[in-house]
């Protein structure tokens, strides 16, 4: 598969870290192979807008190979990496149909990211889906939109109230942005769509274990966000965490003690855990991973004792950087430059230095908080700054314009939400399951598993 004449770089993961590493290798005298379990590069900061029915996933998840099509020294493979063999310099992966795939490397970049963590309660995944992939976002969208449909069908007021209760767990940027969207759907977008139900009666709760929303942000921005969310009808519970869940409720423990909240829709935005590949790296160099399952790397992002192995992004604990896009992007670019320099015979390597570009979060439309280079803005100005930066970072003018158009449409046409298709729990759940189990894509591989599928389809 890999001609050994040229230096082989294998990049595991086509997210922010991986893609930027590949791009920074454009001028390198090497063959670069990026392996990802999906066929797209996901712009995660806007994923919550897919969950809210604002953006179609395509605009924020272009096909990885089309993003790289003009970089002729790179190739993309759709496969699930399950083993990193540092001793033999081999990456072992699995094609969508389970076929084994072996890639030999001279340089390895591991950028496998993170998934959500339920703090030892993995069973909660069934009751409170998280938001890391396109399928996750579709599932959350299905949950939110279906809850209103079910409320419209419900005849028992108590049941209806349960369908109209939404609990978002975790008040980091994702949780805050998502709960803001739920509030907008209930109060601004959906009211006139329904007849039996008054969607403005929806009860929307935001739970946060820390003592403030957006913990990493500046106190002034936290206070502003807190007030703003409350104005939008969000009930905020600080210093509060989930202690139990089932199909119809979540039990929380807070300053006021324990309470069981009847709610049919719960969304998890609380914790993340590094990819299992981080542990696999750590074990091979006899180090420990940290509490978040991240592996420690040298200041140049190399693995101790393995100058040819780099790790970047959410799966490394370098400088304790936050699990957002910027560190991954900057580390990816840095690693690409390091490898390029080495191949050009330049071994003098500056350690990685993180440039804090600041942080921002939207609180519903036309309102955001932004904190960059000491400048802190809120509200409409913050929203413009937020929108400008995010569109700028999107890949391709087609997606940038498409996103601007969709936003303009949502702002102009009375809070339009253009992408409100509901799919099916069984389906999306299977997606999630397949995904977690690493059985990716390639539908046509086993057309509905032959006989079994046929039998199922016959019901049609």
């Amino acid at each position: 598969m890999t001609g050994d004449r040229r230096h082989q770089v294998v990049v595991v993961g086509g997210g922010f870290g991986g893609l930027n590493a590949v791009r920074a290798l454009a001028e390198a005298d090497a063959e670069v192979t990026v392996v990802d379990r999906t066929n797209h590069h996901l712009f995660q900061p806007l994923l919550y807008q897919v969950a809210a029915g604002i953006l179609p996933p395509g605009l924020i998840a272009p096909a990885l190979r089309s993003v790289l099509k003009e970089q002729r020294n790179s190739r993309a493979l759709l496969a699930d990496v399950h083993e990193l063999d540092l001793a033999n310099r081999l990456v072992r992966a699995q094609g969508p149909d389970g076929r084994p795939l072996e890639l030999r490397y001279d340089s390895l970049v591991v950028a496998a990211g993170a998934t959500h963590s339920y703090f030892g309660h993995d069973e909660w995944a069934a009751f409170a889906p998280g938001m890391k992939t396109v399928e996750d976002a579709r599932l959350v969208r299905d949950h939110i939109l279906s809850a209103f449909e079910m409320a419209e069908l419900a005849t028992d007021p108590r049941e209806r109230a349960e369908w109209l209760t939404f609990v978002v767990i975790g008040a980091g940027p994702t949780g805050v942005e998502l709960v803001g969207q739920v509030a907008e759907l209930a109060h601004d977008v959906l009211p006139r769509d329904y007849r039996s139900v008054d969607t403005t009666e929806a009860r929307i709760l935001l739970l946060e274990g820390a003592t403030a929303v957006l913990p990493p942000f500046h106190p002034r921005l936290r206070r502003w966000t807190h007030r703003r969310l409350e104005q939008m009808g969000v009930q905020i519970r600080l210093d509060t965490m989930a202690v139990a869940m089932d199909d119809e409720s979540v039990t929380v423990r807070g300053p006021a003690g324990e309470e069981t909240i009847r709610a049919r829709t719960r969304i998890w935005a609380a914790g993340v855990r590094a990819s299992p590949l981080a542990r696999m790296l750590a074990e091979q160099v006899d180090t420990e991973t940290d509490r978040a399952g991240r592996v420690a790397v040298n200041p140049d992002c190399t693995l101790p004792g393995h100058p040819e192995v780099f790790a970047v992004g959410d799966m490394v604990s370098l400088h304790e950087l936050p699990g957002v896009a910027q560190p991954a992007i900057q580390e990816g670019k840095y690693v690409g430059r390091v490898i390029t320099a080495r191949l050009a015979g330049d071994e003098r390597v500056e350690p990685f230095r993180y440039v804090d570009r600041g942080s921002m979060a939207t609180i519903g439309y036309r309102a955001a908080v932004a904190d960059a280079f000491g400048v802190r803005v809120t509200g409409w100005v913050g929203y413009l700054a937020w929108a400008f930066i995010h569109v700028l970072y999107l890949i391709g003018w087609g997606n940038r314009l498409g996103t601007l158009y969709t936003w303009a449409r949502a702002l102009v046409f009375s809070n339009n939400r253009g992408h409100r298709i509901i799919t099916f729990e069984e389906a999306t759940d299977q997606c999630l399951h397949a995904q977690r189990a690493g059985q990716r894509a390639a539908p046509s591989l086993r057309p509905a598993g032959g006989a079994a599928g046929a039998a199922r389809r016959q019901k049609g």
Copy 2:
């Protein structure tokens, strides 16, 4: 659920027939309830563009209740109708979670459409998906895109050739439009995206049982389409039909006898069958359905002996009209007007008269055939006519502009296909299954079926 003071109209199905009936009832002194198994109104003529990765489904499938939100005498319910009880004037349906739903009507409009028919070979559904719903289109998109991914992974040239062989069965408008898209993907869109595979080597076949492509069209347009498709690299087999299928091949019988074609991707665009509700209507008035499972109605679209029951669209055999949008749209509007007139005390009803607005089909980008009011155009002009009409019929300026933008983008940016996300066979197959079995939407109902789901998720 339904207050019985005002005249109750129940409309089964929110497609072209149903939606137009509801809209034509805007001024009627009645409460109108439209029941659909999905939460959206699908513009089927552009569904093939979702399968081709051009359009996101949201642009052609707006939420039904948002389409109707300003028509205050109407309401939409998300439920699956399984029984029409004419004797008791009851419609029995099932909510997404299986809850029973009973709707009493004074007037009933049945517009349940059609699904694809495998001519007695329902097991083929597993090997050759059809294209009727948004989920169908996503599944077909997954099949097509994944085939190229698998070809890139394949090391055995024979296997690679099988992944690069695509067979579209049926050369009506859907089949022709879809095969044109596959040809464009292989020849114009994807070549530079792949490294190991030369996608232009793809073998693309179009099978048609009749002796010409686009059978219902004018001979000149048929010939033009035939030539054009061949120029695009499509191999056309006329007077040929599928006689057997399995996971990896399709066996066809034609003038040259029988042949087994090794192909991993097969798409079904051959036959349709009316909704089972057509038979249910026929049985209650002791008539037969026709070969396509359609029920016969009076010239005013009422069911013989039941002036209060109307049936429209693909599920009725009135005037032997083709199974396209126009008849359903016109019949739906007509029925809405008839009921409105009756409620205003005007019983004099003109029989339904169909106005043939002509027919058109695209053969890949920048090329289409159109035949309207005796004017027949082809090529670029035909494409403009086609695009103009189809955008005009989309619902809402937001979707019209969004579609125009997406098309412009696809034309300007070197055949861009913006929506190429691959999901998962298991998933989409489950979708199809759930859908066929009528278990619609409402994901959050049974969060991953509690324990079972939890167990599955734990693998995460």
